[in-house]
């Protein structure tokens, strides 16, 4: 596409400069804050003591576990529905799903947790004598609170559904499936060998959004009284401000790394797939 070339105008330089300052200064200042401790001089102690800090590993592992469960459950629920919309072309199903997957955006996490907390209180209040009570206790197990996974899936749903829907829009799923079936592929094979590889980028995007959401989530977990990573940082900050800032910086790096891995995966797999298909064409 022929783009107009714009002369380098002063406003563009100014905008980029101001943005650069605004976005870099807090990161650099945080770094200085963690390594230049008053009374101790330059030290890396804030970083070295992270891993031995009380409860760090347990909280981090809990968060990672919750994040992986959330991604798995969100994809398992959303993918069949989004695929069915594209394969059937049903306008009504599409409209219903769009409304259902937009609704969680209207209810802020604090409001969701207010409702959720009310429901969880029904357990001891009304259901104590029924077998359902055991379920209520089980999903609130503090070492792995399944109820958080449910809340996170609801919160991630709009992003996951949109990402998958955009990915499905870009490929002609119906023709792909038809072609695969005509060539004798079974249904699972058509799904796993043809449809899913074409959705790789969308799946990775959806996973990244859900992972980032869960790893940084504080509101729901803290108000329901559980202690994943973000809640742990706040509690640790009371004892050691340097430590909590150091962990915050690391969590930003973690998000950055995660995004790089996701885009890297999408790119390398994508080109490999393209190369393969080109080879096939040549044959």
């Amino acid at each position: 596409m022929a783009r107009l070339t714009y002369p380098l105008r002063p406003w563009r330089g100014a905008v980029l400069l101001i943005a650069g300052i605004y976005f870099l200064v807090p990161l650099l200042a945080s770094l200085v804050f963690t390594v230049d401790v008053p009374g101790q001089g330059l030290t890396l102690e804030s970083y070295t003591q992270i891993f031995s800090a009380d409860g760090f590993t347990a909280a981090l592992l809990r968060s990672v576990g919750l994040a992986l469960c959330t991604v798995a459950l969100a994809l398992l629920l959303t993918l069949p529905a989004a695929l069915a919309v594209r394969l059937s072309g049903s306008g009504r199903l599409r409209a219903v799903l769009e409304v259902v997957c937009t609704l969680p955006l209207v209810v802020p996490p604090v409001a969701l947790v207010a409702g959720l907390g009310t429901v969880l209180k029904w357990g001891p209040d009304h259901l104590a004598t029924t077998p359902l009570y055991q379920t209520f206790v089980a999903i609130q197990n503090p070492s792995f609170p399944l109820v958080l996974v449910f809340a996170y899936v609801v919160m991630a749903l709009p992003f996951v559904y949109r990402s998958l829907d955009a990915g499905l829009r870009a490929v002609d799923v119906r023709t792909l499936v038809e072609a695969a079936r005509d060539l004798g592929a079974s249904w699972p094979r058509a799904l796993f060998a043809v449809v899913l590889p074409n959705l790789r980028t969308a799946l990775l995007n959806a996973s990244f959004l859900a992972l980032a959401l869960v790893l940084g989530e504080f509101t729901v977990a803290s108000l329901l009284g559980f202690q994943p990573f973000a809640v742990w940082i706040v509690q640790a900050s009371g004892d050691n401000a340097q430590l909590s800032v150091a962990v915050s910086l690391l969590s930003l790096l973690l998000t950055w790394g995660l995004l790089l891995v996701v885009t890297g995966l999408a790119r390398t797999r994508g080109t490999r797939g393209a190369r393969k298909s080109r080879k096939k064409e040549a044959v």
């Binding site: 596409m1 022929a2 783009r3 107009l4 070339t5 406003w11 563009r12 980029l16 943005a19 605004y22 976005f23 200064v25 807090p26 990161l27 200042a29 945080s30 804050f33 963690t34 230049d36 398992l76 993918l79 069949p80 529905a81 695929l83 069915a84 919309v85 394969l87 059937s88 072309g89 199903l93 609704l103 802020p108 604090v110 409001a111 947790v113 207010a114 409702g115 959720l116 907390g117 009310t118 429901v119 899936v153 749903l157 249904w187 699972p188 799904l191 959004l209 980032a212 940084g216 989530e217 504080f218 509101t219 803290s222 108000l223 940082i233 401000a241 800032v245 915050s248 930003l252 995004l259």
Partner: protein, 298 residues
């Protein structure tokens, strides 16, 4: 999952094979594939939502508007207004600055700059909550690096204020706006600009009559998204300012955990309902506009 897809897809294929009958026919298979999702949402989202509605509207065992009216008076009303004001201010500023930044990046010749800014936006838009609060406390808090080095405290600076919180929110709102508006800016065809220019339009006239009208739905959509994020934000404010800036999310959290008074749970639910109503109102402005943007930026 395999089970539901296998049951759904044969029906879908018959629909493909008989395209003339595709419309208006019921396909139970397709709905079957959506059942797990719909059931999950009903259970994990619908039930709490109904519980919230029920609790917000019940007073001493019967239905009434007592909680709702309590939630729009006194400290609760101040907090609700404070949240709306903070969200509207930060969303408006972030929308303008995000647009400027995105335009600066989209029209730059260097591809590396564009890639770098968009990737950084993807990361920073997700850098909310607790870590963001601590990064700003370390930078501009009372003992923050910039505060102490520049002696900002003597000039009356405090991070634990409305504008301190606004400055912090912009850190994730601007990248969010860049991500939202960059694709739309890419969709502005150079031909439109050329046509405007060869018809003798100035840059200002081009933006006034072509650029902004085409972008307006995207900009408003971005604003709604930013407003929603800032309005719903709790973690940043809670781990940073405590209760020095009145916000509705913190009032709800306080009432839920019984920090203020015991037995305020229903007021918390009423406040939650207030938040949902505000979010719905803001969204209602945006939905009809979304259709218009699709026509131009397809």
């Amino acid at each position: 999952m395999t089970l539901t897809t296998t049951t759904s897809t044969p029906a879908a294929v018959t629909a493909v094979e008989r395209p003339t009958q595709r419309r208006g026919r019921r396909r139970p298979g397709a709905w079957l594939a959506a059942v797990p999702l719909l059931a999950f949402v009903a259970l994990a989202f619908g039930v709490p939502a109904v519980a919230m509605l029920n609790g917000a509207l019940s007073v001493d065992g019967s239905y009434g508007l007592g909680n709702m009216s309590q939630s729009v008076h006194g400290a609760y009303w101040t907090a609700l207004l404070g949240s709306v004001k903070l969200a509207a201010t930060t969303a408006a500023i972030a929308a303008v600055l995000g647009l400027l930044l995105a335009q600066a990046v989209v029209t730059s010749r260097g591809k590396a700059l564009r890639e770098a800014v968009l990737t950084a936006s993807g990361v920073l838009a997700n850098f909310g909550g607790v870590p963001l609060a601590f990064a700003f406390v370390a930078t501009l808090g009372n003992a923050g690096v910039i505060t102490t080095r520049l002696g900002l405290a003597q000039h009356g600076w405090s991070l634990y204020s409305f504008w301190g919180l606004a400055l912090t929110y912009l850190y994730f709102l601007i990248p969010l706006m860049v991500l939202t508006v960059a694709p739309a800016l890419d969709g502005l065809r150079p031909q439109w600009r050329e046509a405007a220019r060869s018809s003798g339009a100035s840059a200002w006239q081009y933006w006034r009559h072509v650029g902004v009208p085409v972008l307006l739905p995207t900009l408003l959509g971005g604003f709604v998204l930013l407003f929603g994020s800032a309005f719903a934000a709790y973690a940043t404010a809670a781990s940073m300012v405590g209760s020095s800036v009145p916000l509705v999310t913190m009032q709800i959290a306080d009432a839920l955990s019984g920090n203020v008074l015991v037995g305020q749970e229903n007021v918390a639910l009423a406040l939650s309902l207030d938040m949902v109503i505000v979010a719905l109102l803001v969204m209602a402005v945006h939905l009809p506009l979304q259709r218009r943007s699709a026509r131009w930026l397809a």
